[in-house]
């Protein structure tokens, strides 16, 4: 079994325009990143040794923050969801489009963040890069609020999305047609779909601070039956004291359907709330608890080897966990209680590369090869 001891940084990709919200490998040699300005960039990672990859394509069309992206299993389509209330499909393979450019390091000087503006370091010099600008190939407007949740089945046939009105929509992915929808009680913070497409796990919460202390204001976490749109399992009841007071930042099924990972720390209201739970999707019972990231876990992904989970968090750390014993195998980064979060990660389909992005707008590509 790999201990990832030889894992190392391959590339550091500067974007530094706004914080990066999501990452997705397209095949093993391309990575896409979305940001809060509504832009998506795609880099080719297959470059000669010693060269830093540059973005080759820019996907434009969203008019507000993109919350999540994913690439279909055949690597032909990229799908994104946004605060502009749309779900967009993009051709992940085409190199056709308008010639254009993107300015890296145009990050807005964070003047005024603390009012002690003299202490803010100057940004790095901007770099202009020529890219192909592409438009979406499909625009789904079935949601009426910010779309936060996005997941697909491994066979690429079913897509599920969830929004801030608590609406969950199950789609025929290839056709882009709505198959079913149902209404949850709170905003959908994160969701996952079981590999067989029969269940959706969705974390819900409205982050009121004016709480009356009633049960109805606590987050919800249900397993829903896709066919009926009914809740099959109330995970809040199953988890008891392990249930957090905020929504999960990520809910992910393992490829074999044996594990359901829920990452805590969607909003930072308490310390030591960033644990990761491994649940049995059939019963909702906790199988194992991982220490996670004490300031909050932002994202998790199962490694294709089926034996590891990788997480990133608000502590500026990336951690690799052994699923069988829950032990930490390897970590990257330097702990910071209030630093720049690592907000998103993605693992290449062959498991040999990891991409992680921080809120300052930088992407780091790691080699995970043994």
């Amino acid at each position: 079994m790999s201990d990832f001891s030889s894992a190392k940084v391959l590339h550091t990709l500067p974007w530094n325009s706004a914080y990066i919200t999501s990452l997705a490998f397209i095949g093993n040699d391309q990575v896409a990143a979305s940001n809060k300005n509504g832009d998506i960039l795609i880099w080719n990672l297959a470059v000669p040794e010693g060269k830093t990859p540059e973005p080759v394509r820019r996907l434009t069309g969203h008019t507000n923050e993109i919350n999540a992206i994913l690439a279909t299993p055949d690597s032909k389509t990229l799908i994104s969801v946004s605060n502009d209330r749309t779900v967009k499909y993009w051709d992940a393979t085409s190199d056709k489009g308008e010639p254009g450019s993107v300015l890296l390091n145009d990050g807005f000087l964070p003047k005024g963040v603390t009012e002690k503006v003299d202490k803010v370091p100057p940004p790095p010099p901007p770099i202009e890069v020529k890219v192909i600008v592409q438009k979406p190939i499909r625009d789904l407007t079935n949601h009426a609020e910010w779309v936060q949740g996005l997941a697909q089945t491994p066979d690429g046939k079913t897509l599920v999305t969830g929004d801030d009105q608590g609406v969950i929509i199950v789609w025929d992915l290839p056709a882009g047609k709505e198959r079913r929808r149902w209404q949850a009680t709170q905003w959908i913070a994160s969701l996952g779909i079981s590999p067989n497409g029969r269940e959706v796990a969705a974390s819900q919460h409205i982050p009121y601070r004016d709480k009356p202390g009633k049960e109805s204001f606590l987050p919800e976490f249900h397993l829903w039956d896709v066919e009926s749109g009914q809740s099959k399992l109330d995970l809040k009841k199953e988890l008891g004291k392990d249930f957090p007071r905020e929504a999960m930042s990520a809910v992910v099924y393992s490829r074999d359907g044996k594990w359901l990972a829920s990452a805590h720390g969607k909003l930072q209201t308490e310390k030591n709330q960033g644990k990761i739970l491994l649940l049995d999707p059939a019963t909702g019972k906790k199988i194992r608890e991982l220490a996670g990231h004490p300031v909050g876990t932002n994202d998790v992904a199962f490694h294709p080897d089926g034996k590891h989970l990788i997480s990133c968090g608000r502590d500026q750390m990336i951690k690799i966990w052994n699923l069988e014993d829950g032990k930490l195998v390897r970590d990257f980064g330097k702990f910071a209680d209030r630093g720049v979060w690592i907000g998103a990660l993605s693992i290449s389909p062959d498991g040999r590369r990891l991409a992680a992005a921080d809120r300052a707008g930088q992407i780091v590509i790691y080699s995970l090869a043994v």
Partner: protein
């Protein structure tokens, strides 16, 4: 051992008390209560209206008929995510502006109900304030003075209670609900104008529900009074007076508590106000204003969004929007809005730049407050921030001008002079002037 021995009261004194009780049965309840207006320590209890109001203080009180309801966004609400949006700018964030019922005024999409009341609002987009942390900011925005002066300044609620209270009212004149944005209280105005604090949702504390009939309360009050008069003759110290005042307030609140009981009406109103503590607080404020309380502050907690500013503000605005808009509508429908100033404020605003945690931090250089109703000319924007919101671009408003405007709208002299001992102090600092363009 008998009861009097257990209490350590000599038999002769008990007899004397009984005589006092007997005499009290022949005086009216009002007269009896008036008799307690000057405490044993010589302190009058002015804030609590007629029942304990001395003639002297009643003569001083100016019944303006004006009221103020202050909605205090505890933690610092973001101006860019509410009333001073910067669409398309790097500081803009994910919220989008919507039109209002006034041409040229746009506000956040998550304040859709308030958008229908923009004709009542004066939106000041050019606040520049000096105290940008919670304690000192809350103090400054409640008293008009920096806490660094180390002087017991009075909160705005105490000042308005002093000058706008109704001498005939049995209710307290300065009421707070929710998390306190400031604990300065009445300061140099003295304990008579200390705030009375309710639960977050406007519920009274349990001690005001005595569970005994009014007549029994009266007899107990008089018994207490006779005890204390005897006690105070030997101990005329000020601490005793404060203690006595607290007792009197409790007794009075027991009598006035029905004004706070809005349960039946709330059942009909909660769908409009939102079934939240803040929503109920706003509805209770309406009822208290209707009953004659001149100043009510309602706090909405949770705006201090150094992390995750946008989901937190989105959730908070979903609570604020129905409550505030329903309050304005109900005040308008009852013909009360022209005499009721509704203030929306915080201790400061939030930074235009969005930090690495998706948050906005404390910011006092260019932020927004909103005034509506009594004495204010609605449907206007006043001042402006620059295109990214970092600086005031037009018509800077400081704490002094903000307070002076509120005081003038309520008919209070913004340069009213008071004394702490021999030291003079004014309601607003020297040079503070009301903003005439905001006044109706």
């Amino acid at each position: 051992m008998g009861a009097r021995e257990q209490l350590g009261i000599p038999f002769q004194q008990v007899t004397s008390m009984n005589q006092n009780l007997h005499q009290a049965n022949h005086v009216s309840r009002r007269a009896m209560l008036k008799g307690t207006v000057v405490t044993a320590g010589g302190m009058a209890v002015a804030n609590w209206g007629a029942l304990f109001h001395s003639q002297t203080i009643a003569a001083e009180a100016k019944r303006s008929g004006k009221r103020c309801i202050m909605l205090y966004m505890e933690g610092g609400a973001s101006q860019i995510d509410t009333f001073d949006m910067k669409p398309g700018r790097p500081t803009g964030g994910p919220f989008r502006p919507i039109k209002t019922n006034v041409d040229g005024i746009q506000i956040c999409e998550y304040l859709p109900k308030m958008a229908r009341h923009a004709d009542k609002l004066a939106i000041i987009r050019s606040m520049r304030t000096k105290s940008v942390d919670h304690g000192i900011g809350g103090y400054h925005m409640h008293t008009c003075y920096p806490s660094s002066e180390k002087f017991p300044h009075a909160e705005i609620g105490a000042m308005i209670a002093k000058y706008c209270e109704n001498p005939e009212s049995d209710l307290p004149s300065f009421i707070k609900m929710g998390s306190p944005g400031c604990t300065a209280g009445s300061g140099y105005l003295g304990p008579n104008y200390e705030p009375f604090t309710l639960g977050t949702d406007g519920q009274l504390p349990g001690f005001v529900n005595p569970g005994v009939p009014l007549a029994v309360q009266d007899r107990r009050a008089e018994l207490l009074k006779s005890f204390e008069e005897r006690f105070a003759k030997q101990r005329p110290a000020e601490p005793f007076a404060s203690h006595r005042e607290s007792e009197l307030r409790t007794i009075r609140l027991m009598r006035a508590r029905k004004a706070f009981d809005v349960e039946d009406q709330w059942n009909k109103a909660r769908d409009r106000y939102g079934n939240t503590p803040f929503g109920r607080g706003c509805f209770t404020a309406l009822k208290l204003a209707e009953a004659g309380v001149p100043f009510v502050e309602i706090g909405q907690v949770g705006y201090d969004s150094h992390n995750d500013n946008f989901p937190v503000h989105k959730a908070n605005l979903s609570v604020l929007d129905p409550a505030w808009s329903s309050l304005l509508q109900d005040l308008h429908d009852r013909g009360m809005l022209k005499d009721t100033l509704v203030v929306w404020t915080s201790e400061f605003g939030r930074t235009p730049a969005i930090n690495g945690q998706g948050g906005r931090d404390h910011f006092g250089r260019a932020w927004t407050v909103v005034l509506a109703g009594g004495g204010i000319k609605g449907g206007q924007l006043y001042g402006a921030s620059d295109r990214d919101g970092f600086e005031v671009a037009e018509k800077m408003v400081d704490e002094g001008a903000y307070f002076a405007t509120i005081y003038k709208a309520l008919g209070v002299n913004h340069r009213a002079k008071h004394y702490l001992g021999t030291r003079p102090i004014w309601a607003t600092p020297e040079g503070s002037k009301p903003i005439e363009e905001l006044l109706a």
